[in-house]
Symmetry: D2
Subunit: 345 residues, 4 copies
């Protein structure tokens, strides 16, 4: 037997911070679906969570992010910790010379994002943000068609996110629907209207799923209208309780045509009975976006190995957050808000 | 051969006012698809238009509405004249004791509608308004499901109208997109949220299809957000230029599920070639709504024969127009507008 | 009021023979959906059936076909009597100088069909057969695409008919699945492979829905393979018991692409709930083919008025029956049968 | 940092034989998508092919299968060599004590398959055959529904395979369409009619895509009808040239309902333009079945690690081949053939 050694590029050595739901999903994908990455460490302040996930994916466990940042063998970190900790972790990771993949939102304020971007820039490390929809086959194809001029100039846009359920309303921070959920829709709409800038935002929101938590600041249903400087109007819409599953859809209607994304069935199976036709729906984000999550992590590994800017950057995180903050200000004021200045109009 | 005469109910003798595009469609449907109606007269100020349509459908031609109103054999009139004349014609027809079917909008102001409603009430004649979507099989089925509780309480709603093209921008009156096009969407949304009242309206609109006509007041692209007193948020959206055809869709997302309407193909035909899969789209309202138009006219004939209130009334016209007027006020002011008072919020 | 009389063509005066299920449907469509026709008489040996239908559509009732054939005002007859009587009625109607529309099958033997065709030819009257699928929008569009070369030469074809249920197995004559049901599929496949001739037929059939009636000769499930002289292979398939409704589909796969027909939902409505997505299916032929039935009757009226050959002729009936007879012979022999000679191969 | 080592099961050490198209696909999936497997060696008689694939997946290259069979660290082999070599390789691998995954067809004769099955049985090693459709989400869900009784007893079945193109007709062995392509459909139909046995087979085939190669025995278009002992009739159909891509579909119609599989779009993207609606089709098997291929290889790794019988066995390979051989005999004889005896009926 010949012993030709593989000339494959060495996988990027990765440490992951945050062993929660999305951290578990990302860690598993890194271990099983991203050949360009090797997940070597998992950190979480809860020792059992860290140990369990580490064991599952064949990595070492840690409780302190510093254990990851201080490991010279680790080239890159994936941050899936609590959202409020994102910005600080990005900054610390970049300062330690690690490439950074950060789940959305990258920060809770524009200043936090700016600090993280600056830290990455200073360290000369790639910084990618987890706007996974761009990696979904249908949304990616839509952007290519828009770039090719297939639908002309966008006039009317739509992005919808409906979550299958609100497990624990008590644990959801105020404004989550804007900063955590609709932030995806805002990025999607900005990205699908290339070259245009959002001018103003009108938002209205309510607690219709869990009205008892409205006083605690939990809003579970929201509609946002964004007016762009090229005239396009975009509607983003979210709910925390879709009984039928996890529903992410998009639509861009332009001067020459329309692209529609999402809404596909769970599989190609159709059951026809005396009750009519039945089609299974997708029940969760991890199922819907399995390929997209794997693709964004592969993109990160490639960008790190190539030393190039990833496809989604801190600047993208900043733009989406600016829209989210304007939406929050609009709900508070009841009137449209200027995205650039945050002023009511 | 026995000579059993048919015990069918005598068809309602109908006169139609206005031989334009929709008048021609309605006249043809009355002649060919509505056995409970007999179209006996067609009036239009343009003698050739009246004569041509009358000849096509086997009716008499007239140039003056009064010729129709004064004919004692005519029991009911269908008003498909210019929108600005609707209210006056409704009032005159009712005063002459005729049952009235009026195309939308029934009037350009709430006062006009009130006068027409009052006239019909005084004369004791049925008055129906042309909100045809309620008679489309999918929208009608959606309402039944909502009544049955299949989707629970509405949380998020959507209604879309996209017209295939703006033939003559110069001839389109200002605010047409709200009073003529979105009026359908407003009625649909009000009807699909039974028991709820619209509280406030935010609208934004622009001239993206024909920017040169913006100064003349022509808006061709609009988005409207309606907040209801049961918490539901509804988005209505219209464009005057869908390259791919005539696009009417609706969606009601509630606490227990969602109904989606519209968006169907022109037929069940699918063509698969080296370019992929191709499906024909519906190109015009007359094609899309042929069955719905026939059904609303049949409903009118039945209501007249039975002496009962039709399924769509002047009160419905008033509610939809109130939303349209609030939307216009919102575009003018840039802020949300109270539907009941018309005040900016 | 001017009194311009309509220059419309006079409707064709029609008598209908057979007030059963399909006769009732055709009579109603003639009265309500076919302006070029006027149904003036309905004949059925059961006086009450004749009277009831006649009353419904505003026509005279008769019990004897001869009353229709002898009426000089009647120009054309629509034959919806029992299948076994079709051929004789066609011949008698043609002999009386009436144009003839005959439901399928036009006859139970090739000789019967030949006699009817000859009678119509001798009398110089149009003769149309009720192969309604050709008038369904999707199938008609498929044929146009095939004529335009969009899919190249047919290689593999499929036509499916599944009926929603077998109400009374006892009343179904032997071989019905071939002569009454699959006859539609045979015509469809011949028509969608223009210029080609069927060479041989292999068929297999069984009583799976109502096994108790197999001994009485009732077959309720069948598959037929037709080999054409241009190499195309077509599969026709039928069942008498589709729980989910009335299912008619077609597919033509050729050297350059494929057309697919049928399988559409009852309406564009989709219901999404915790159970997934639900779509209503079409439940009956009268619902599925309402427009197609109206179109074939309109075609008949037009052909009569224009004195031209209708779109579907007695020759088409003969070709389809030849395939049905070969299929029956194949079931009896267990081997493929030559269509031209009826010989086992 | 704690140094908890992962308690994951050790991946199964695998050698792959045959670095062709499907070998490359399987090797890549083993390396990137099957965490329970580690591909350590790739053998191919062409040294460059072996070296290139080995390098791509980080394995050692070999030219002789014996190098793989003789390696004590290798626990299992995946056979993706030329079909004619399958049976001998299965037997040799089993004799060497390796677990075996063999691409279809497992052998070209029933005797070959029997020898392989016996060898695996004697060695006590798992033997899995590459009927990947069973692992496709829609087909797998269909089988579960059938097992649950959702569609009752199968009456009419269909399985279709259409390949996107016939790259090199000259290189295709005779009967390939039955032994290589339709073998998938035969397995699918047998598997979706659990408990039933195929009784007789009628097949017809032709060279419509590449007629010039018909004399050389190449058939590129085929239709097969299988009659089962529970009365179900199944149609399998294949073509070597679908311009629109790779088309695999299935349908099982039973006494209580129907399941339909396949035919899904490439992604959820829909493009609507002046030409209508356009949907991308799937272009190749590796794209269509990526998840199914990964799942069958994962099943193999799991079965090996657990020492249990895999989900698809040599007995399944034998049953499917028996149908293929009967189909070939039917084409040769022109009449139906008995599956059990191979006799013409």
């Amino acid at each position: 037997m010949s012993h030709t050694h593989a000339p494959r590029l060495d996988p990027v050595q990765i440490g992951l911070i945050g062993a929660g739901r999305i951290g578990t999903s990302h860690a598993t994908l890194l271990a099983e679906r991203v050949p360009g990455a090797r997940l070597v460490a998992v950190a979480d302040p809860r020792p059992e969570a860290a140990a369990a996930l580490a064991a599952k994916v064949g990595a070492r466990a840690a409780t302190e992010p510093s254990e990851v940042f201080g490991d010279p063998d680790i080239e890159a970190v994936v941050i899936t910790a609590s959202s409020v900790a994102h910005a600080e972790l990005v900054t610390a990771a970049a300062a330690a010379g690690k490439a950074v993949f950060c789940e959305k939102p990258m920060g809770m304020t524009l200043e936090e994002i700016d600090r993280g971007v600056e830290a990455a820039s200073r360290a000369g490390v790639p910084l990618q943000v987890g706007f996974n929809r761009r990696f979904s086959a249908d949304f990616a194809a839509a952007r290519r068609l828009i770039d090719d001029g297939a639908i002309g100039t966008p006039h009317l846009m739509r992005s919808v996110t409906r979550d299958p359920g609100l497990a624990d309303p008590a644990g959801v921070p105020p404004w989550t629907i804007f900063t955590q959920t609709l932030i995806h829709d805002f990025d999607t709409l900005l990205w699908l209207n290339p070259g245009a800038e959002p001018v103003s935002v009108y938002a209205t929101a309510d607690a219709l799923v869990a009205p008892a938590f409205k006083d605690a600041g939990l809003l579970d249903t929201a509609v946002v209208v964004i007016t762009f400087d090229n005239g396009a109007r975009a509607v983003a819409e979210a709910s925390f309780s879709a009984t039928y599953g996890y529903d992410v859809r998009g639509e861009v209607f332009g001067s020459r045509g329309m692209v529609s994304m999402g809404g596909g069935p769970r599989s190609a199976l159709v059951l026809s009975t005396a009750s009519g036709r039945a089609i299974e729906t997708v029940r969760g984000d991890v199922e819907l976006f399995a390929d997209a999550y794997a693709a964004e992590l592969a993109e990160f590994a490639e960008a790190v190995r190539a030393g190039r800017t990833p496809a989604v950057t801190g600047a993208d995180a900043r733009r989406a957050l600016a829209v989210a903050l304007a939406a929050i200000a609009s709900v508070e004021s009841g009137v449209p808000v200027d995205v650039a200045t945050g002023a009511v109009r």
